[in-house]
Symmetry: C2
């Protein structure tokens, strides 16, 4: 009995040490971190009664991550508009990049999954666990510590902002390139201008092979075209 | 000259007082609040050179609001899953409800718009200004004060959670009701079950008048149906 307890303590100490190595944070409420790093597949098999998964923590972590990155970009780019900030944020916080960061910081070695159950479908396991870990840190340590963890461990070492900015998607160009690859003709027309006081709202219509696809509005011609192109990309299922 | 300055001071004092009345917060950096409450229409006409609008603050405020409400719901509903939390949050934080809250706390009387330019199109002015105000408070006072403002002034007095929960949208019911109103036949079929270990992923297909519309997946039949129904509602443009 005593030996079992020692074994348990040893295992818990090893887990705490591993968490500290990855995050630079010394956990207080270890349970939260264990939960964050336990995949549903494992939780399902091992917990009797009410099943606790890391999906609630993922929901929380996702929103904290979004807020911290929003502030970071807001301050980093004082002269850029909200469309730009939204676009750059979505390029930092998305499934694919979260998975990559999770692997780079070695989170995959800590994630508990049912190995027999491992499946290529679960390709977002590590990214999801990373979001859940952010949620756990937030509940355990508060906003300030979590913000520091996100910026120092997840964002700054893994993203080169100038590169990210220079490759930011231009929806109009993307749509035009796609149309050309499909040998389709494409046209953007400003079909409406609504003037009210000094403000003008433009409506741009996208036409593909002489058929109107969709339209978008904005307070400049460029913004209206981007909005229309973005909608067209979604409608045409060009990801 | 002196009189003009006094007039300016008086105006600024009145603005600070009004902000304090609405928010219970005494602003330090008044400029942030002025910016938050200035609509683009007004900014366009009045600022020469670089135009500053409240849209960047809106981006920031939106994400802080999302995070605070996420934590609030996470703690309020310890036994609900992330799908439920996401749904309830989107019912609290959306254009319409933000507009309503903005009016209830009297924010509309503080929003500077170009009156000549006022237009029914700008129906989200007050909700957007509210998000921008959250961004301004965050930059001026930090996370803790902002969280308190959001919970005490925006959420708790204006939402009755039990009512919100009991009226939470059930996508499947909504789609069925719509189909009935249109005299269309509707069917949900589980068309696939992928087993891996102890976890099963279900795929539900929605069929409308014998034509397949779309499908959705989930780790229970119910979740798969909800996912399929939600996608169908979007595809069929039933808002």
């Amino acid at each position: 009995m005593f030996t079992l307890f020692n074994k348990y303590l040893h295992k818990e100490r090893a887990f705490i040490k591993a968490i500290t190595n990855v995050t630079n944070i010394s956990p207080d409420n270890v349970y939260l971190y264990t939960l964050a790093l336990t995949h549903t597949s494992f939780a399902k098999q091992n917990v009797s009664g009410k099943q606790e998964t890391n999906e609630r923590l993922e929901f929380l972590g996702d929103s904290i991550l979004g807020a911290v990155v929003a502030e970071f970009l807001f301050k980093k780019f004082p002269y850029k508009d909200e469309g730009f900030l939204t676009e750059i944020r979505s390029r930092i916080v998305n499934r694919e990049s979260l998975n990559t960061i999770a692997l780079r910081i070695g989170l995959d070695t800590l994630v508990k999954i049912d190995q027999n159950n491992y499946n290529a479908r679960y390709k977002s396991i590590n990214g999801n666990a990373l979001e859940a870990l952010v949620g756990a840190i937030y509940l355990d340590k508060g906003y300030k510590t979590t913000k520091k963890f996100i910026l120092d461990k997840l964002i700054k070492p893994h993203f080169d902002l100038p590169t990210l900015v220079s490759t930011t998607v231009n929806f109009k160009s993307k749509l035009i390139e796609w149309a050309q690859s499909q040998n389709k003709s494409i046209r953007f027309d400003i079909v409406q201008q609504k003037q009210s006081g000094s403000t003008t709202e433009f409506t741009s219509e996208v036409t593909l092979d002489d058929k109107p696809v969709t339209s978008g509005t904005g307070f400049s011609k460029k913004k209206a075209e981007q909005a229309a192109a973005q909608k067209a990309l979604t409608l045409l299922k060009i990801a």
